[in-house]
Structure formats: C-alpha cells, structure tokens
C-alpha cells in the first residue's frame, strides 16, 4: 500500500464531500438543530396539553336520585360542573359527561351506622379528559374519606396508628449512576447505530456508485494507484465521516437533553438523569467499541453500494441494509435482552448490548473483549469483502444498461443450464415453500403432506420454472442413463456414506445432544404409521424424495451452480444447501455430508439417476430400520451402536474402503463428466459446457 496515495485520496474525497451542501446539511446541520428543536417541541406540547387539561371543565353526571350528601361533596369543586342524568353511565358513554358518580341510596345511612358506603366512578380510560375528571372526583372523595376517618377515630378515642399497624416504605437504592444508565441504556445503543449508519450512508454511496456514475472511476484506475490504495482511501473517508456524524449526533443530543433538564423546575429530571454519574471512562469505553462497529457498517455499506450502477440504484440497495441493521439495535434496546455467550456473537446487536451493559454497570472485561474482538473480525471480513469487490472489473465497470425485464417465455434464450442466480433463487423458493405451505400440509396429515410437498410444491414448480425460462431439461437435469459401472460405484458410495453419516450424527451428539422432543416426535411419527403399509411409507419417505429432491438439488440447483463454480466447490455448495434444506440444526451436518456424496456421484457420472438410486437406498434403509423391517441382527446392531455412541472401528474402516472404492470406480469411468458435456447447444451455449477437471 502506498501511504501517499491513500492520503491524497482521503484528502480529495473529504474536500469533495464537505463541499456538498446536501451532505453538510445532513451531517452537521440536522444533528445540531434537530435535537434542541425536538426537545423544545416536546416540552411545549406537554406544557400546553397540561394547561389545557387544567382549564378544562369536567362534567360529572349524577343520577337524579343521588343522595344530597354526594352532591354536597362534589358541588364545591373547581372546574367541575354537575349534571343530572337518568342514566349517568350512558351519559359518559355518549360523551355527554366526562365521568359519572353513583352512590347507593343507603350512603347516608351507612355513614350514620358506621359501616362502609359505596361510591362508583364511571369513566372512559381512553379519553384523557375523562381520566382527568375521574382523578378530580377521586381526589375529592378521598378528602371526604380522610375527614370521616378522622371523625370516627376521634369518636372511638383511637390514635391514627391504630389503623396503621405497619408503616411500609420502599426505598430505591439504585445508585444514581445506575438510574441514569438504565435510562440511557434503553436509548443510546439504538441511537448510536442509527447515527453511524446515517453518517456512513451518503459518503458510502457517493464515493463508490457516485464515482461510477460520473465515469471518473475509470480515469482513477488508469493512474499508477493500486485498487487497494483506492479502496483504503475511500474507506477511511467514509469511516471518518461516519464516526464524525455519530459523535456529533451524540454530542448534540446529550447537550440539548442536559440543557433541557436544567430548565426543568425543581431539577425534577436532573436528579434522575444527572450525567455526572456516567463516568468519562464509560463514555471512553463506548467510543472505543464504536470504532469497530462503525468500521463494520461502513465496509458493508461500501460493498453494497459498489454493486450499483449509479447513485440512485445504490441508494435503493443500501436503504434495505440500513433498515436491517436497525433491527439488532432495536432488539438490544428492549428491556430484558442482555449480553450472553450467544448474543456476544451477533453482529451489531452485540455492540448495542455491550453499550447497555456498560451503562448499567454490568459489563465484564471479558464480555467487552469478546464483543470488541468479534466485531473487529466482522469488520475485517466486511472490509476484505469490499476490497475484493473493488478488484472485480465486472463490478467496478458494471455499466451495461441491464436487460429489459421481460418474463415472457419467448424472451428467454434457450439454454442448456440455468444461471447460478436462478439456481440460488430456486433454493430460496424451495426453502420458503418448505417453511410455509409444506408445514401446513404435513401437520394436517403426515403421509399425504409429504406427497404434496415433494411432488406438488417442490418438483412441479421447479420443473415449470425451468421449462418457462427455456432451459433444456435433458441437460440441466442430467437426464442420461448412467453406465452400469456408475451405478455400482453409487452403491458403494451409499453403503459407505450411510455408515459414515450415522457416525457423524453420533459424533455430533457429543457436542449437540439431540433434543428429546425431536426424538420423541420421530418415534411417534413412526408409531402412528404402524397400521400403514410399508409400501406407502417407502413411497412417501424414500421414493418421492429420491425423485423430487434430486430434481431440485442435483438437477436445477447443481447445473446452475456448476456454470460458475468449479467441480469441488459445486459439490460442496450443493451438499451444504441440501443440509440446510432439512431445516433442523441436528440434521444439517449429517445430511450435508450425504448431500456431498450424492452430488459428487451425480456430477461425476453425469446422470441424475445415480443420485436418485443412492437417495432412495439411503432413505429406504432408514425407513426399514425405523419400522423394524430389517433382519433382527442388523436391528440389534443399530441399537448397540446407538447405546455405545460409536460405530466399531472395523465397520468404519469398511465404510471408508467402500467410499474409496466407489470414488476410484467413478473416477476411472470418467467420460461423461460435466453438466452439458456432450450436448451440442446453439451459439448461446453456456460456459458450463466445459469438461470437469
């Protein structure tokens, strides 16, 4: 890196940004004026509201037959007007009166006989005027209550203490620091995230997409400055501006709040919110942790903005991200959410929670360090990501006008494989389907639900989509007969893979014990199916997934992924996606492992039928074992290893050998390797038409 070049870029970007009136207003003008204005308006509104309330006449409805005593009690009150009504409660409901007071006709009598009389106040809690009227009446009645109580005590010659056997007082011993802290703690984390985001937003967009839009990026790239210098210089500028805006906002808010509190009569607020109690050191710690946070937000915003072609598009890209980072900030502001081993790792939320912990004196040095390091690592990753994007000439010079967004079938050129974007879209769609409608159908009735999920909700839409965008199904889905040797290799891989996957599950249960409820659920599932025919079970749990999930994963997704990624990366990615697809923490790793094995076999053999066979066998063994339809000796074996939590080493070695044999066989067959290897396509053939390594 060339420090001189970086500095030159920072100086120029700062100068240019600070000369922009829009930026100056957003960065300096708004924070300086907003907070004082906000506080002034709030206090004015509250004061006005109070004054209005105090001037307002409360109309109190009394029943025509209300005792004279009650009328006497209420008649002397200021700002109260008594009205007679046949139905006082209805009068309140209809808005004719603010509150209604009803006493039983025996009120005077019960006072005479020294028992309790009853008075009911009807009011409408949603109406401030009604609540206010109720309070006025209640105050008046409580005054009478006290007066009568004193009279009765005097009559009986008893002291006041007689009716107060215990005097209960609760004293708030929270330190002023803590009280101030908890007030700030609810507000500050969220605000800091918002402000850093505001500060980073405009520069991040202007320095990347803005420069692209002006066409000056290309000129800059032709100078003897490395892309790393450029991205570093731009990043430093964005970061400095974000920190500056964050601090300015924070300063302005603190100052105007403090000033407002001083203005309050009797220092009512000052005793609660006094800022002397949050130490300078606390603010220092907060500022220190703010650095990696701002770093992280700036780097991500720049990375997102550089994708856009122009300023406007960049704003459209960055705004959703901005809203997204507010969510963890908001969650952290909620009472009860605190730092824990898990939340220390969540980006943005962890810093917000750390601020909260510092302000309420709960932060430990260890937690501080964890959050700081974690956020620094995230920030670094984000910066590496942004720098990597800057290296890509496609991203930097991306200026084609884009393609007219037409969804008509005729507008799609015929192709042999979908794009990787399409494939990832298919994955997202399948996940959504699985999450919503599939869950609905499966909870209604499991077996029919599984059929509907596999055939109607997954396979059918994906096939229709592929057909619609004119992708050659034969090549994209690898619909080619496998060689017999490939099937044999598939058998070996399934056998070995099955054993290894069971073992992986067992190892996983050391770290991640399978939850009892899931285990019970599975047992119940199979127990409930006891009456069903085995054939139906096999169709639902082995055949359908083998066909439908293979079409989706080893067909639509794999062929698209393969157009952009190499052999190994494709196998890995599709395997992992397959693991994620099973929507269960416990099954991700084992199913991903099996997914990798099957993906490898399909890609190497060039035939999806290899995968369908393997998938079927794998699931079928599972069904047969769970329904106890396997020979007793093997069932005993399964039970034994479950108790031991470990497959005997000779069996594992055998499984490894089977896999090795399967791989060797596959590799030697070779030949039909790639997605579109032997399909001759039109000129619009995809880059996937390259042989596998």
């Amino acid at each position: 890196m060339n420090r001189r070049n970086v500095l030159t870029i920072v100086r120029k970007e700062l100068l240019e940004t600070l000369r922009d009136r829009r930026t100056l207003v957003a960065m300096i003008g708004i924070p300086l004026l907003l907070y004082p204005a906000l506080f002034v308006i709030i206090t004015q509104v509250v004061t006005l509201q109070q004054a209005k309330m105090e001037r307002q006449i409360s109309r109190i409805a009394l029943h025509e037959t209300a005792p004279t005593l009650l009328r006497q009690w209420l008649s002397g009150l200021e700002q109260v007007e008594l009205i007679d009504s046949a139905d006082p409660e209805a009068a309140v409901r209809l808005g004719q009166a603010h509150a209604a007071v009803t006493a039983g006709p025996d009120l005077p009598a019960s006072l005479e006989t020294r028992v309790s009389g009853e008075v009911v106040i009807d009011f409408d809690g949603t109406e401030p005027a009604s609540r206010h009227a109720m309070e006025r009446v209640r105050d008046a009645l409580e005054e009478q209550f006290d007066r009568i109580l004193e009279e009765r005590l005097a009559e009986a010659g008893l002291p006041r203490a007689y009716i107060e056997p215990i005097r209960i007082e609760s004293a708030n011993i929270a330190t002023a620091e803590k009280r101030t802290g908890s007030f700030l703690a609810g507000l500050l984390p969220m605000l800091l995230v918002v402000m850093v985001g505001v500060g980073a937003f405009y520069p991040a967009v202007d320095l990347t997409a803005g420069e692209k839009e002006r066409g000056t990026f290309e000129t800059l790239l032709s100078t003897p400055t490395s892309k790393l210098d450029i991205v570093t210089g731009k990043f430093i500028t964005v970061f400095a501006l974000a920190m500056f805006t964050g601090l300015l906002n924070l300063g302005s808010m603190t100052l105007s709040l403090a000033y407002q509190l001083v203005q309050l009569p009797e220092n009512a607020g000052a005793s609660i919110f006094s800022f002397d109690h949050v130490s300078i050191a606390d603010f220092g710690l907060i500022l220190l942790a703010l650095i990696p946070l701002a770093f992280f937000i700036c780097a991500l915003m720049m990375a997102i903005a550089v994708f856009a072609r122009d300023f406007k598009e960049a704003q459209n890209f960055v705004t959703p991200f901005y809203l997204l980072i507010l969510v963890p900030g908001m969650i952290a502001s909620m009472p009860g959410v605190e730092l824990s081993a898990a939340t220390e790792l969540i980006p943005i939320a962890n810093v917000a929670l750390l601020f909260k912990a510092i302000l309420t004196e709960k932060a430990s040095a260890e937690a501080y360090l964890t959050v700081f390091i974690c956020t620094s690592v995230y920030a670094l990753l984000a910066l590496v990501f942004a720098a990597w994007l800057f290296q890509s000439e496609q991203v930097i010079l991306h200026e084609d006008k884009g393609f007219a967004l037409s969804l008509r079938r005729d507008d799609f050129p015929p192709r042999s494989a979908p794009t990787i974007g399409f494939s990832l879209g298919v994955f997202a769609l399948v996940m959504l389907i699985l999450y919503y409608p599939a869950t609905y159908f499966q909870t209604r009735e499991i077996i029919s639900g599984l059929f509907i999920t596999q055939w109607v909700l997954m396979a059918a839409p994906v096939l229709v989509l592929l057909w619609w965008v004119r992708i050659d199904l034969r090549s994209a889905l690898f619909l080619r007969a496998p060689r017999p040797g490939a099937l044999l290799a598939g058998l070996l891989l399934t056998a070995g893979g099955f054993v290894l996957v069971v073992q992986i599950g067992l190892w996983q249960s050391w770290i991640l014990p399978e939850s009892e409820s899931i285990k019970r659920m599975m047992e119940e599932l199979f127990a409930a199916q006891e009456g069903r025919s085995l054939l139906l079970m096999l169709l639902a749990i082995a055949v359908s997934p083998a066909v439908c999930e293979e079409i989706v994963f080893r067909g639509a997704i794999l062929s698209g992924v393969r157009t952009k990624l190499g052999f190994g990366a494709s196998v890995l990615l599709v395997g992992v996606l397959f693991g994620l697809f099973h929507l269960s923490v416990y099954r991700i790793v084992p199913t991903a492992a099996m997914g990798i094995v099957i993906t490898y076999a399909v890609l190497r053999s060039g035939s999806i039928f290899t995968g369908m066979m393997m998938h079927f066998l794998n699931n079928a063994i599972g069904v047969l074992a769970a329904t106890k339809n396997l020979p007793q000796t093997s069932l005993d074996w399964f039970e034994r290893i479950e108790i031991q939590g470990q497959i005997p080493w000779p069996a594992l070695a055998g499984a490894a050998a089977a896999i090795a044999a399967g791989v060797i066989l596959m590799e030697r067959l070779g030949g039909r390797t790639s997605a579109t290897g032997d399909v001759n396509e039109s000129a619009a053939g995809s880059p996937s038409a390259r042989p596998g390594p």
């Binding site: 001189r4 870029i9 120029k12 066409g215 000056t216 800059l220 100078t223 010079l397 084609d400 979908p418």
Partner: protein
C-alpha cells in the same frame, strides 16, 4: 516517468503492442459476449493509430485493456515493451488514458483536480504547479482554471480532461472518442493537440466513429467490427484493397466482405 525524449521514437520497438488480445464477458443467463477477438497491432512513437468502428464494435474494451483497466481473457498487451499484466503499475506511469464520456469531479476546481491526479502520478507539488501553468496556456484554460468543474461547459470540461491526460507528460496516449459531442472549434483544437503530441514522438491510439477525423489525422487505421480487427493499414492501403476513395466506403466494403465470409 518515461518521456518521449527518453524513448527512441521511430525505432523498431513499438511503444504500444497488442498481441492476439481477446476479451469476453459473461452477461448472465449463461451467455457470453466476445467483445474483442484476437486483436493484434503495433503503434510506434510519432505515430497515430486510429481505431474505427461503429458503436459496440469493441473499441472501448480494446482501449481499456491497453490502459490496464481490465485484463484480457487471452493474449496480452505491451506498453514500451512492458507487459500490462506483469507490471500494470509501471505501465500506468507511462500512459495517459482518456476514457470515453469521462466527466470530472464536479465539486473540485479544475486546478485542484489536476493537482489530485498529479499527486497520484507521484509528481512533486512544484512540478504540478509548473505543468498546470504550461498546459493552461497551451489549452487556453486560464479563464476557468479556478472554477469548479461542475460549472464548466462541455468543451471546457474536455480541455480539463485533456490536460489531465497530458499532465505527467506520458509517452503513450490512449484516447477513447476524444471529440465526441464537442463543437467544431473545440474538436479542432483537440485534434491539433493530438498531432502536436505526434510531432513530439508520442505513440497515440485513438478511437472514433467520425471517419473524416480519422482520414485527416491518422497515420494508420484499423477497422474494428464485431470485436474483430477486419483490416489495418494506411489510408492508401485501405483504399487500394477495397477500391474505395474514402474511409466510409472502404469500411462498408470491408464489413460486407466480412459478412460474406462468415456466411
């Protein structure tokens, strides 16, 4: 910095060379565009090479590869004998690149913008000041040197851009449509600078789709069509090969011949 004076202009070694350079872009949906196919040519010091072709022919992509903005998919470029993929930083010091449709930093003054680029080229502050004064006089920019770029007219902006290209006195000039959208007077002035630079031994490659401009200025011309350099030579050679008496007819004849071969 390599000045023309330090290079033996006119000698056998070309200052610009493209060796079977190709570039293809993946444009999504699995499609690929072959923007440039196997382009090869050389430009010596004191020579102007004109790249002629319609919009979308691949002129800009080819020039971007020469200017190290993008890397070729295959083949390579050499600037003054140095391969652009081996030492892009070193190559950039020796060349001035004017991209098509380039704009300026709207909120910087013309002088500040020139200084910014001067620093990035590693020039000292006095050198930047001297050179700026020199170019301001040469390009008649004195009146607007201290105005913000956002307030300049199209012609004034292009002059600032040209000054930016010439600032570090590069031995190689790569100019993408330098006269596009300019009025006649400014166009003529800019074409004047290009021929002056030739007289000082610079190697110049520039693209245009104004045939008359090329006719007037270029020592050699390359016709580029659909990413391929169809023909290359002096005006006279091109006329003789096509039987035409102007570049427009020559280009059309070549394009038709190419189309017949392809069919």
């Amino acid at each position: 910095m390599i000045n023309a004076s330090t290079q033996d202009a006119g000698s056998a070694r070309p200052l610009i060379a493209a060796r079977a350079v190709s570039k293809s872009f993946s444009i999504g949906r699995g499609r690929t565009i072959h923007a440039v196919r196997e382009a090869s040519f050389e430009v010596a010091g004191g020579e102007i090479f004109g790249l002629l072709g319609p919009n979308g022919a691949g002129k800009t992509t080819l020039l971007r590869m020469l200017a190290t903005i993008i890397t070729p998919t295959s083949g390579h470029c050499e600037m003054n004998g140095v391969r652009t993929d081996v030492d892009p930083q070193g190559v950039r010091r020796t060349l001035g690149f004017l991209s098509g449709n380039t704009k300026l930093y709207q909120r910087l003054k013309a002088r500040e913008m020139l200084a910014y680029f001067g620093r990035l080229y590693g020039m000292s502050e006095p050198a930047i000041a001297n050179r700026t004064a020199e170019l301001a006089e040469l390009l008649d920019m004195g009146a607007f040197l201290d105005r913000r770029c956002g307030q300049l007219s199209t012609g004034q902006s292009q002059k600032v851009s040209i000054a930016r290209v010439l600032l570090h006195d590069p031995g190689i000039l790569i100019l993408d449509e330098p006269t596009l959208g300019l009025d006649i007077m400014t166009s003529r002035a800019i074409l004047g600078f290009i021929s002056q630079a030739r007289a000082r031994g610079r190697a110049i490659i520039f693209s245009t789709h104004y045939m008359t401009e090329a006719e007037l200025l270029c020592d050699r011309i390359g016709f580029i069509h659909a990413g391929r350099i169809m023909a290359m030579g002096t005006k006279q050679e091109l006329y003789e090969r096509t039987g035409a008496d102007n570049l427009v007819d020559a280009f059309v004849a070549m394009a038709e011949r190419e189309g017949q071969q392809a069919a």
